[in-house]
Amino acid sequence: MTIPRTASAIRAAVAARDVSAVEVCRDALDRIGRLDGALHAFLHVDDRGALERAARLDRDPPANAPLLGVPVALKDNICTAGVRTTAASRLLEHYVPPYSAGVVERLERAGAVIIGKTNCDEFAMGSSTEHSAFGPTRNPWAHDRIPGGSSGGSAAAVAAGMVPLALGSETGGSIRQPAALCGVLGLKTTYGRVSRYGLIAFGSSLDQIGPFARSADDLATLLGVIAGHDGRDATSANRPVPDYREALSDDLSGVRIGVARALLQDGVEPAVLDAFNASLHELARAGAVITDIALPHASLAIPVYYLVANAEASSNLARFDGVRYGERVEAPTLTETYYRTRARFGAEAKRRIMIGTFVLSAGYYDAYYLKAQKVRALIRRDYDEAFARVDLVAVPTTPTVAFRLGERTEDPLQMYLSDVFTAAANLAGLPAISVPVGLSKERLPVGLQLTARPFDEAALVRAAAALERRLPMPRPDAD
């Protein structure tokens, strides 16, 4: 029997013993071996650990395992006990965590096989995966293009069919933006929906872990596995997790979708706008009602985000001091050791630590950080007002298709602007999804972004399922 490609078909085939978990695992490792030399989606492939794990699942399959035998890739800022976790940084180049993240424990209980750790921007800071200390990932649709970021390795691995599922993390668009640029589904969960225990911290009022998949069904399954309360994360929400697969439907009758047209006036490529408008048409054909809304402060999401996130980053990255774990560059005194060790941060991490340190410093805190937090409250208020009238808010996920490697590395501000439509959901703590809805003339994917009320991930899954039946997404040649 040929090895199935979706998580749901793999689970069914392994449960029925039509294929073994070991055969599925070998197939994934073969594909990674064939494709990853060109793509560099993975920083570490755990061949041995994955095969041992698959063999154990074959010998003794757990009951009620929604991901039985399914290979899953993890962004390399998610801690895995005994398996190197670098956050794509020189400072953690040899770091082997003594414990696993909460989401990793949940994946293991669900019968998943963790296949390896994916590339990302250093400490998840970037929008192209070019800020990885270990070299960039390439877009499976066009190898001279970036896959997006920071979770670019996870997006590329799923897009190229190396794995059916992967986890990424978001602080400001880092799942949805690469999902859009690689043509896969990517979901940012409500702040608090998924445990961050074992996620290497970047911006703690923003960070969330979320799933990548190639079908709404698989996305719903993975989301159901990782969502839920964890007492080890004080921001984890203690509320029930619905069965997200019950939301799968091709009927959107009664769903009201708001479009903030004013946001689309500048800098959106025609190919993106065309695919966006076509996807709205399909949503309407599925029964949704499309109306205009206003989000007056959403255009300020990027400046607010880069002040808030970097302030938090400068604080979180203070722990990398060469004392308790990670790399140390030896020097005669402790203070010099700090300086020399921290010189090993990459340029983008340094830039963000500098911005964050500046906006928190005496004399600037009120004008920058406090002001940004107030505008952040206004951004959230805009959404609360919109959600009194509509169930979902639609915008393109990104203003452009994937850009070329090197095109924006010299101009940080241009790089930041690729998250102009995604950062608002992080600041407001809302769940949001990117759904692949088409290709540009040069065959590069375009994503539609939908944002929902807090904890209404089910509404996002439902809309994604309706769209995938009407706008089936082709696969890159790698598949």
Binding site: A237, V323, R324, K350, S361, K374, P412
Partner: protein
């Protein structure tokens, strides 16, 4: 109130963050940080009088747990992660802290 950051400003911020920068990085960051903060200045136009600052936007309650001792990761395992440690003494080792 757009800030222009000089090389001296960049060096002062880098010292606060214990970051060693090369001369090229100091020059580059002075220009780039000025540019980024200039862009961020657009938020100054927004009227935020009577707006409370949001830190976390999802309503949440203060989380309590019972004041009971619970298990933690073994000390030896964690000291084993350190670049230098004395596991028998239960201490991390660092270079000289005070001047000679």
């Amino acid at each position: 109130m757009s800030e222009v950051l000089t090389r001296a400003d960049v060096e002062r911020i880098a010292a606060l963050a214990r970051l060693e920068l090369t001369a090229e990085e100091v020059t580059l960051f002075a220009a780039q940080l000025t540019n980024i903060l200039g862009y961020a200045d657009q938020i100054q136009q927004v009227d935020t009088s009577n707006v409370p600052a949001a830190s976390v936007t999802t309503p949440s309650e203060t989380v309590f747990r019972d004041d009971q001792p619970a298990g933690s990761l073994p000390r030896d395992l964690l000291l084993g992660e350190a670049p230098a440690a004395d596991p028998a003494a239960g201490l991390f080792k660092v270079p000289r802290v005070l001047g000679s």
